[in-house]
Structures are given as C-alpha cells and as structure tokens.
Symmetry: C3
Subunit: 101 residues, 3 copies
C-alpha cells in the first residue's frame, strides 16, 4: 500500500516559483504543492540577511528525481539567491503514480 519515496521541499523567494516548478517538471516530478510562507535566514556570514514573502514547494518523487532536482537547484542560477532545499524519506500511498514510466 505504501511506497518508499522522497519528499523534496524547496523554500525560496516567491519570484522563483515558476523557475522551481519548471525544474521539477523537467526532472520528472508529476506534481507539486505550494504553500505561502515567511522566511528569515542566513545566506552566509550575517545573521539574517534576507526576510520576506517566500514560497514552499513540495513534491513527492523518486530518489533519482530528487537528486536531479537538488542538483539543478544547486546550480549557478541560485548561487546568490535565498533558497533552501532538502529531502525527506517518506512512505507514500499509491506511490506508483508519482513515478513516471
């Protein structure tokens, strides 16, 4: 009934919403969920060098797609922008529909 898959979570500035969704699609995600959020965080040395309206994008994917998404998100494009991304191991109901054949 449950399939072990990966939840990819990306939190970033709202203006990157379409860019992230585009990455998810291209790398093989079959869907995603958006939530509005507010963030405050560090991009490096200072304690809190960005804050404001953020978006949280979540997608259930295979381990391979998760790695491809994270690699895309770690690329040059986001180097100087506020982005947080992580993966969580989850067990998904009807998991087969989240994996493209």
């Amino acid at each position: 009934m449950k399939t072990p898959l990966v939840l990819v979570t990306v939190i970033t500035e709202s203006l990157f919403k379409d860019k992230i969704i585009d990455i998810l699609r291209k790398k093989g995600a079959t869907g995603h969920t958006l939530t509005n959020a507010q963030g405050e965080g560090s991009r490096g040395s200072r304690a809190a060098d960005w804050e404001g309206p953020n978006i949280k994008i979540e997608s259930i994917v295979s381990p391979e797609v998760a790695d491809a998404v994270l690699e895309a998100v770690s690329g040059d494009y986001f180097e100087n922008h506020s982005i947080i991304a992580w993966t969580t191991e989850v067990n998904v109901l009807r998991g087969e529909k989240f994996v493209k054949r």
Copy 2:
C-alpha cells in the same frame, strides 16, 4: 524527552477537509493541523489533470493509527479524487499525549 512517532500528511481538495478529519478522529488521532495549499498534479496518465485550492492536513500519531488512516484514505471513496498521503518518521516532544490509551 522525544518519542518516535509518525507524521501523517494528507493533501487533498478543500471539500474533503471534514471527511479527512473524521477519518483521523475515528482512527485514533488526538489532533491535527490544517494549512491552505495550492496543488497541481497527476491522477494518472496526463501531466497535470487537476489543480486548485487544496488543504494540507498533518497529524502526529502512532504507527498503528498511521496505517489505519492510510488504509481508510486509500479506500473506494477517494478512488477518483485527488489525494496525496504519506507518512514520515519523526521524534516528538511529549509524545505520550499523541497516543490514546
């Protein structure tokens, strides 16, 4: 201080909110958290055959309750509807209050 328990996450159309909460209660969950979300995803073969206002429902439960909730959610009722459900292993503060005796 921490108890290993299960986080059940259900994302579905807003209109199913009460139905899901009812399932959670009947299966033994002691509480839940609701967040508004937007979803886009696949129910099968097409790339994006539903999108719109969704609700994310989260509940910390025992492994047994988690399985019962997922089984209820996998039933006929939701067969033709957009629903995503998954479990995550978590460590919970004061975990005893999430398990009914």
Copy 3:
C-alpha cells in the same frame, strides 16, 4: 552536495511566535520559516481542548541545536500551553550554511 541535518517543526499559538524564534536564535539556528496554520488538538484527557490560529515554525539545524531547542520548548514556560514540536531527519542542500561555527 547534501548534508544530513535535522528539521525542527514547532506548531503553537500565534502569540508565541516571537518566543519560539527567540529560542531558535539563542540555541543556534541560522534561520526559520513561518507558515500560518489552524490547529485542533488535545492537551491531555479531552478530545479537543484547544483550536484556533496557529503558527508553524520550521528550522533546519544540527542535531545538537535540535535537542537544545526541544529542551527549551519542553520547559516550564509552555507547560500549560498548546505546543507541538518534533524533529525529522533530512538531507539538506548546501547544509554547511545552517551550522554556525
């Protein structure tokens, strides 16, 4: 590319927002994300003895910071208040920026 870290999630009444953020900062978190949520839950024997506007606060931290945050949150201050806190093991992109040196 990915670093194993801990996602700390705290759900509580909105009025405790600043208190929780203060705890996160003091214990060493470098940032956090806020989401509005609605909660209903149990503080003990009754089925649903609180409900209303809640806030969900998430932060990616080291295991040591996670434990310190949970210990602070389990203290006397919140004894009679509605608070849920848990940790999840995650793999974080550019994880080094979430750990203070």
